[in-house]
């Protein structure tokens, strides 16, 4: 789905640099960042936390009917990645075929173009993941 320019601009720290959050009370890490720790609530205290971008494939799929903006990538791999620091996120896996990927495989974040608006419009960047050989 097409995303507005202010929304994309607002999410740059998270999408470019994996900025998340961590609760100082219970040490749980979150990506994307949360304002309130769902475990500690009022007793929680959130601080900024940057993920290193290393993790493992928790589960994955190969999408044949694409999301809008991804038509030229079909089929593409999409996964839930469990980051080494604890949080999980959703992302594409790139530079691999379905046969190459197994649950548990090590992956690392790469900075890529996610999608673009019309030819004259905004290019949205962010993280994807690739297998670590």
């Amino acid at each position: 789905m097409k995303e507005s320019i202010p929304l994309t601009w607002r999410r740059i720290p998270e999408r470019y640099r994996l900025k998340g959050s961590q609760c100082e009370t219970c040490s749980t890490t979150f990506f994307p960042p949360r304002i309130i720790c769902p475990k500690c609530r009022r007793k929680g205290k959130m601080k900024e936390f940057h993920f290193a971008g290393k993790g493992k494939v928790f589960t994955f799929t190969e999408i044949h009917s694409p999301a809008s903006g991804f038509e030229n990538q079909v089929p593409y791999l999409f996964a839930i990645i469990e980051l080494d620091e604890g949080a999980k996120l959703s992302a594409q896996i790139v530079d691999a075929r379905k046969e190459d990927v197994k649950i548990g495989d090590k992956v690392e974040a790469v900075f890529r173009k996610i999608q673009s608006d019309d030819p004259e419009g905004l290019i949205h960047y962010g993280f994807k993941f690739r297998l670590v050989k």
Binding site: T61, I63, H64, P66, A67, S90
Partner: protein, 386 residues
Amino acid sequence: MRRVAIIGVGMTKFGEHWEKGFRELVIEAGLKAITDAGLQGNEISAGYVGNMASGSLIGQEHVGALIADQMGLNPIPITRVEAACASGGAALRQGYLAVASGLHDFVVVGGVEKMNDLDTNAVSQILGGAGDQEWELFLGATFPGIYALAARRYMHEFGATEEMMAAVAVKNHDNGSLNPYAQFQNKIDIEKVMKSKIVADPLKVFDCSPITDGAAAVVLASLDIAKKHNEQPIEIVASAQASDTLALHSREKITELKATKIAAQKAYDLAKITSKDVDVCEVHDCFTIAEILATEDLGFFKKGEGGKAALEGRTALNSEISINTSGGLKAAGHPVGATGVKQAVEITWQLRGQAEKRQVKDAEVGLSHNVGGSGATAVVHVYKKV
């Protein structure tokens, strides 16, 4: 709290309604329900309507007021309820609460979605709004993709197979073939599912519920009053709802829907029953994997055994537990806002003994299970013959 009963039900056929718009569909279902209840309409003092996405699908918001207007129900208060694909179940719960509280004696609850006015791609994008737009959909996820993530993890953890998921679709088409309201009334076999086009591996076209136009409605009344108007009131003995993280990836486990487990346990406690007492059940099978997870989370089978149970026919009509006698979302169709209300209609027909060819023998206790998104909302209702 007063006891609450369903005294009237009605629905349109589910499918592609090129000749009918949003208002024709919802009026047809509403009139059928009010007529079935034996009411004139002026007894009704409040309404709730489940609808996910009329603003995006047909450009129309404020559909509560639209419906009251078109139904001739002005000036009663009527409110739209949105919880993605669980909008219908959530609306039913609001109606239940309005009657149980003593504030209203007669309430109408509708559910409606008009989806086929847009093309498939546009509808898919709109339905994506049930997930986390910024952190799932924008990054390339689709709704089948999100359920495919759960399916692969489930297969990995429990050794389930694609044939087990296919068996759910086959069974639901079998049931749909007996339901004149179903979008698909054709039988299929496992081979047909397995050979259908991949949507998001391991899910194929026949693992997915379709895009559907349709509406359903029920009339609720307090049980004491209901007995005067209806020979066969069906009591709602429990209404429970729970929530979970919007994004699938934020959950500790993705091979269960925690919201379903919590809502189901609450509902069983309220109804003073266990899963073993349920005779007939409508579960939220937006994808075949979702039915397998639901039959486990609702307590019919142990975790990891739902797929095998489906393959062995233990969820077929008049087997161990009759699941989705209507054909479920897969075969009866899934007009998202209408689905939760349609489930209540089907259970009412079953408990009244009016389900014709798909009648479950001696059905006394029914359950409906409606899910929003990938499990961020779950609504469970339990019904009993009075």
